[in-house]
């Protein structure tokens, strides 16, 4: 029972973590809460569904297509809706983000209709594996595996590659990074591309996990992932991973012990409790503003 719920929680939490990473990276670099990030996740789910349903691609190829599509989408959104507001107040950019979010979910409603759609059964023939008294589906293992691979790749890119170092430098000090010869506009686009690719993968995985893809799936998933990012400490990449997993596991255990009607409230209750004790989030750093 415990192991069962733990695996359920980790699978759900990995998807939160994938989405939360996009929020935290974008916030880290331009101090913007990208409210449209949930809709990128939704778009990823739809692209994955189309690739599997219409083009009969296997699930990994479909996921790759969704990731590429959303990378472009993230970069275009930043270019159109946020870049012109780079020097204005963060509130203006945030309102622009809400606009993009509403636009995208309405567009999806127009194109795909209001009914949730499921992945075809042959997309990923899931099987049950018994470990002790726990029944774990291969789909859950797929979710955990794919998320782990993506997060390790992200950590590698950010820590070891040249563009990753430029990302960290830009998020610490925008102007000084430019003085080192970093093209900060490129770095910002790259950050949006990375975050959006992770959200797209999350969208495909969540679409399969709940067997439902709908125009409004981005809202709640986005809010919870945002809560996960804040819980872990916004701006911190390991924080987003930890926050996502923690939220997923707690939510599943909350449901398991009988609070299923409070399912969505649990995430935010934890958020409030943690922030009361640690306002910077679990792994967040105190931000010192220099005048």
């Amino acid at each position: 029972m415990f192991l069962q719920q733990l695996i359920n929680g980790i699978a759900l939490g990995s998807t939160y973590a994938l989405i939360a990473l996009g929020y935290t990276m974008v916030y880290g670099i331009i101090a913007l809460i990208n409210f449209a990030h949930g809709e990128i996740f939704m778009a990823g789910a739809f692209v994955g569904l189309l690739m599997v349903g219409v083009f009969k691609l296997n699930i990994f190829l479909a996921m790759a297509c969704a990731m590429i599509f959303c990378m472009i989408m993230g970069v275009v959104i930043e270019f159109i809706a946020y870049r012109p507001l780079r020097k204005s107040s963060r509130l203006s950019a945030f309102i622009s983000a809400i606009g993009v979010s509403t636009f995208l979910s309405s567009l999806a409603l127009m194109v795909f209709g209001a009914n949730a759609k499921g992945f075809p059964d042959q997309a990923f023939p899931s099987q049950q594996i018994s470990i002790g008294d726990a029944d774990i589906s291969t789909l859950q293992l797929l979710i955990i595996g794919v998320s782990a691979v993506l997060m390790i790749s992200l950590e590698f890119i950010v820590q070891k590659t040249k563009v990753g170092k430029a990302m960290r430098a830009t998020s610490e000090d925008y102007n000084t990074a430019a003085l080192m010869g970093v093209n900060v506009n490129f770095v910002i686009s790259f950050t949006f591309a990375l975050g959006s690719a992770l959200a797209a993968a999350g969208g495909v995985l969540v679409g399969m996990l709940f067997n439902a893809v709908s125009f409004n799936m981005g809202l709640m998933a986005g809010l919870k992932a945002f809560a996960a990012a804040v819980l872990g400490g916004i701006g911190s990449i390991p924080g987003a991973m930890l926050g996502g997993l923690l939220l997923g596991v707690t939510e599943v255990f909350g449901v398991a012990i009988g609070y299923s009607s409070y399912r969505d409230a649990i995430a935010f209750a934890i958020l409030v409790l943690v922030l009361l004790v640690r306002p910077t989030g679990l792994l967040g750093r105190k931000i010192l503003k220099k005048v």
């Binding site: 430029a166 610490e172 990074a177 080192m180 970093v182 093209n183 900060v184």
Partner: protein, 234 residues
């Protein structure tokens, strides 16, 4: 090498620079001195491209760079050590130097640059893996200078290298500035510590509220009674 002509810069409605002209010749150390808020840092930031100009022309080695993006100006051969050092606090000393060498194309060049920085500043070698925020003020200044030298600039812009440092360290830093200059890097130096700046510079400009009020040979300026009264504390 560098010529700034009739440069004007505004911050919103506030005029930061008005009709400033100055030049730097190959091999020189040129100092900009003046009180707080005179516009010294603004000149450097406009040359580096992170502050837009309202009017005027900046040319480097015959090419106009007035509206060029900051990351392209670095590639032209101008690098800045910003005011307050601005090391990347969460990155290690080594990573800070790697960032300084961002425009270098080969890993070998980066490795050579880091070795050079460690020869110039042996203290940094001892702290290679430490996050930059754990360094002392003097060490951070050394790191910021080592980082800027990584890109092999022909013109180095130094903004207040003595800020917040103990007098002994200030002398050490200025010795290194002279050393860097002797090895072939032209230097434009902004300083509040006017006596130190004038003692190592070849020429200097005195700024007051966004305008150049005096300029000339550094030694002569240091003897000028007005300068002595206003900036050298006599």
């Amino acid at each position: 090498m560098l010529s700034v002509e009739n440069l004007s810069v505004n911050y919103g409605a506030i005029r930061a620079l008005h009709d400033v002209s100055c030049r730097v010749e190959q091999g020189e150390i040129v100092a900009l001195i003046g009180a707080n808020g005179a516009g010294k840092t603004t000149i450097l930031n406009t040359i580096s491209g992170i502050v837009p100009s309202m009017g005027g022309v900046i040319a480097f080695e015959g090419t106009e760079i007035t509206r060029m993006a900051p990351h392209l100006i670095v590639r032209k051969g101008i690098c800045q050590v910003p005011e307050g050092r601005r090391v990347f606090a969460r990155m290690s000393v080594q990573e800070n130097l790697e960032m300084g060498g961002f425009i270098l194309s080969s890993k070998q060049e980066v490795a050579q640059g880091i070795e050079r920085a460690f020869t110039l500043f042996p203290r940094l070698a001892e702290r290679r893996k430490q996050p930059a925020r754990t360094l002392s003020g003097g060490e951070q200044q050394m790191l910021a200078m080592g980082r800027a030298l990584m890109s092999n600039p022909r013109l180095l812009l130094l903004d207040e290298p003595s800020m917040g440092l103990a007098p002994m360290l200030v002398e050490k830093i200025f010795e290194i500035v002279v050393e860097i200059n002797k090895s072939g890097t032209t230097i434009m130096l902004v300083e509040q510590n006017a006596s130190m700046a004038l003692s190592i510079a070849h020429r200097a400009y005195v700024l007051e509220t966004g305008e150049v009020v005096l300029s000339g040979d550094a030694g002569e300026l240091a003897r000028n009674p007005e300068v002595r009264k206003a900036y050298l504390g006599e």
